[in-house]
């Protein structure tokens, strides 16, 4: 029973500890370990419509599943015009020979029903074509018609997860700053959208400058900085109700760069008093704040480790901008950035193994990752201005802001995987900056 050995190995830094699940007998599997190889060819025929009301959704859901998988760079879709046999029923046997003939190594089949109440139910099966068997069990997801894209993303997350062994990141959202207007008078609004750019919704109007939204660990709130009061201050907004409240309003101060700790109750941020910027934390239940750094230098961009024990942040205490780690209670910090150039905006990965950062070197900006002790630094991008990384919840992809230069310069969102592969622009209605990736919903 030797099926062809199908392992697609990807260039993830040698430092990534991939699950040691290398196949012995060649089941459908992408090993996210090291080295760059071909994306895995797959097919997603239109899903079967089980009622006439489901005709359009049956096609659209299949398209979104395919787009999610292709968008990772790990998979390559085989177009429908190459298909030999149609899939006419969800329950009829799969003609494996026809899919082998076009080298579709993975096949996703599905069916969609819309019931009398308008509830959408989509079920799917994932097939390992060359093994001639199903990979995992069929599953179904239900939701409203408006929520059909989420159903598609959930199916794609399942497929991704079964083939890579990693958690998916498709049923997620991105909070960001939508930008319009000329460079010197940029209008900025808080916005939220699906990770793939669909379903954009605005959370604030453009009457006040807003910066850098950050999701809560539960994905229901965002922290951000607004000039609503005339001064930069940290606010918290409930996404469902779009209601907001100011978190830090000490007179004569400014506050910014907020981020939730993993417990969702503590917020770390920067407070400026008398021209000096330090890091504070606040219990959002009691409003009580604690100062964590006290140096005449700039301390900003704090990010708490997933276990809540440490904070990585940016400081210019050495005379240049570098990245440091300290206890979540403050105290002595150790510098982790070691290379040439200047470092900022460190963000702890959801897995806890890496810190993503912005690096400024020789008039270029880079997004990079390093281990939490600063070793094995790797730059993933380079441009006139890249900044502000945010992690996909599975720690495999980073989204960031890229701004082009000159009078007509504009900001857009890009994503790149942590191997530095698959750099792509994220669809947004116009200019966009400061992305924050939600947890998996």
């Amino acid at each position: 029973m030797m099926y062809r050995f199908m392992t697609i190995v990807l260039a993830v830094l040698a430092l990534i500890q991939a699950p040691a699940l290398r196949a012995q007998d060649g089941p459908l599997r992408i090993e996210i370990t090291e080295g760059v190889i071909e994306p895995l060819p797959f097919a997603v025929p239109d899903f079967i419509a089980e009622s006439s009301a489901a005709n359009e959704l049956a096609r659209n859901i299949a398209r979104v599943v395919a787009a999610d998988l292709s968008g990772t760079g790990l998979f390559r879709e085989i177009p429908a015009d190459a298909f030999i046999s149609p899939v006419t029923s969800f329950s009829s046997p799969v003609q494996f020979a026809d899919w082998k003939a076009i080298n579709a190594q993975a096949l996703v089949t599905g069916a969609v029903n819309v019931d009398a109440d308008g509830k959408v139910t989509a079920k799917f099966r994932l097939w390992d074509v060359f093994a001639g068997q199903e990979l995992g069990n069929g599953l179904q997801f239900s939701g409203t018609q408006d929520g059909w894209r989420r159903i598609a993303h959930k199916i794609a997350d399942q497929v991704y997860s079964r083939i890579t062994g990693e958690t998916g990141y498709f049923d997620t959202r991105v909070a960001f700053v939508a930008e319009s207007g000329p460079k010197g008078q940029r209008a900025k609004r808080l916005a939220i959208m699906d990770y793939d750019g669909a379903n954009v919704k605005y959370l604030t109007d453009s009457s006040s400058l807003v910066l850098a939204p950050r999701f809560s660990p539960t994905g229901d709130r965002v922290l951000y900085t607004s000039y609503e009061s005339g001064f930069p201050r940290v606010y918290m907004l409930d996404i469902a109700s779009v209601s907001r409240r100011i978190l830090e309003s000490q007179d004569g101060t400014m506050s910014f760069a907020p981020r939730f700790a993993p417990n969702g109750r503590t917020v770390v941020y920067s407070l400026i008093r008398g021209g000096n910027t330090d890091i504070y934390k606040m219990d959002i239940g009691t409003g009580q704040s604690t100062r964590l750094t006290s140096a005449p230098s700039i301390e900003t961009a704090p990010s708490v480790s997933p276990d809540g024990s440490q904070i990585v942040f940016e400081s210019d205490r050495s005379g240049s901008k570098q990245i440091y780690v300290m206890s979540a209670d403050g105290g002595e910090a150790r510098r982790i950035s070691k290379g040439d150039g200047q470092y900022g905006t460190p963000v702890w990965s959801p897995r806890g193994d890496l810190v993503a950062f912005t690096k400024q070197s020789k008039r270029r900006f880079h997004i990079g990752v390093m281990r939490t002790d600063g070793s094995e630094e790797r730059l993933l991008t380079a441009s006139f201005l890249d900044e502000g990384p945010t992690w996909a919840p599975n720690g495999r992809v980073i989204m960031f802001t890229r701004e082009t230069q000159g009078e007509q310069g504009q900001s857009r969102l890009y994503s790149v995987d942590i191997t530095g592969r698959n750099l792509q622009q994220v669809s947004t209605p116009g200019g966009a900056s400061d992305p924050s990736w939600s947890p998996l919903q």
Partner: protein, 181 residues
């Protein structure tokens, strides 16, 4: 009570202030924006294009403060220390504020686009604070002064070269009557 309308944004800054800054001997490589100002920008000191109230010929007017005294100081890359030229400008600002005690001032700190948003916000605050401390050292009551940082959010000039950056690394003193701070 008269209330001076604060400019909506630095973009509404007229050519006049720049002309003055140049005239004041600060060595600036002005990043000209012909499309914005036109090639025939006649310097009419009595027409400040809705920028600030008053005539520049009236030494008690905001227009005079902005254009004759000089409302801004510039900083080297990543620096917040005041140059000699900046100190001269701030000496004049302090003198004006002490003479015209009805006015309060908001000091805006800015950075150029080379740097992260967070760091630049902190850097702009340092610059604004440098101005604040200097004005206080010259006798202006701290109660009449407030500071804000815009980081790199409000560049005055939009090109991506040093000729623009030099003008964006600034602290601007914006005066208003009875701001009630």
């Amino acid at each position: 009570m008269t209330r001076i309308v604060k400019r909506g944004s630095p973009m509404s800054k007229t050519f006049l202030s720049k002309a003055f800054i140049l005239g004041a001997g600060l060595t600036l490589a002005a990043c000209t924006s012909p499309d914005r100002f036109g090639s025939d920008s006649a310097v009419d000191l009595n027409n400040s294009a809705g920028s600030v109230a008053g005539s520049v010929s009236d030494p008690t007017s905001p227009a005079y403060f902005e254009q004759a005294v000089g409302d801004r100081v510039l900083f080297p890359v990543d620096q917040h220390t005041l140059t000699n030229a900046a100190q001269s400008t701030l000496d004049a600002q302090a003198e004006w504020l002490l003479t015209n005690s009805d006015y309060d001032a908001l000091i805006e700190g800015h950075a150029d686009e080379q740097g992260t948003r967070e760091y630049n916000l902190a850097l702009g605050a340092r610059r604004a604070n440098s101005v604040h401390e200097y004005l206080v050292s010259r006798g202006v009551p701290a109660s009449r002064l407030r500071v804000v940082s815009y980081g790199k959010e409000r560049p005055l000039e939009s090109c991506s070269t040093e000729s623009c950056y030099v003008q964006n690394r600034r602290a601007v003193t914006i005066i208003s009557i009875g701001a009630g701070v």
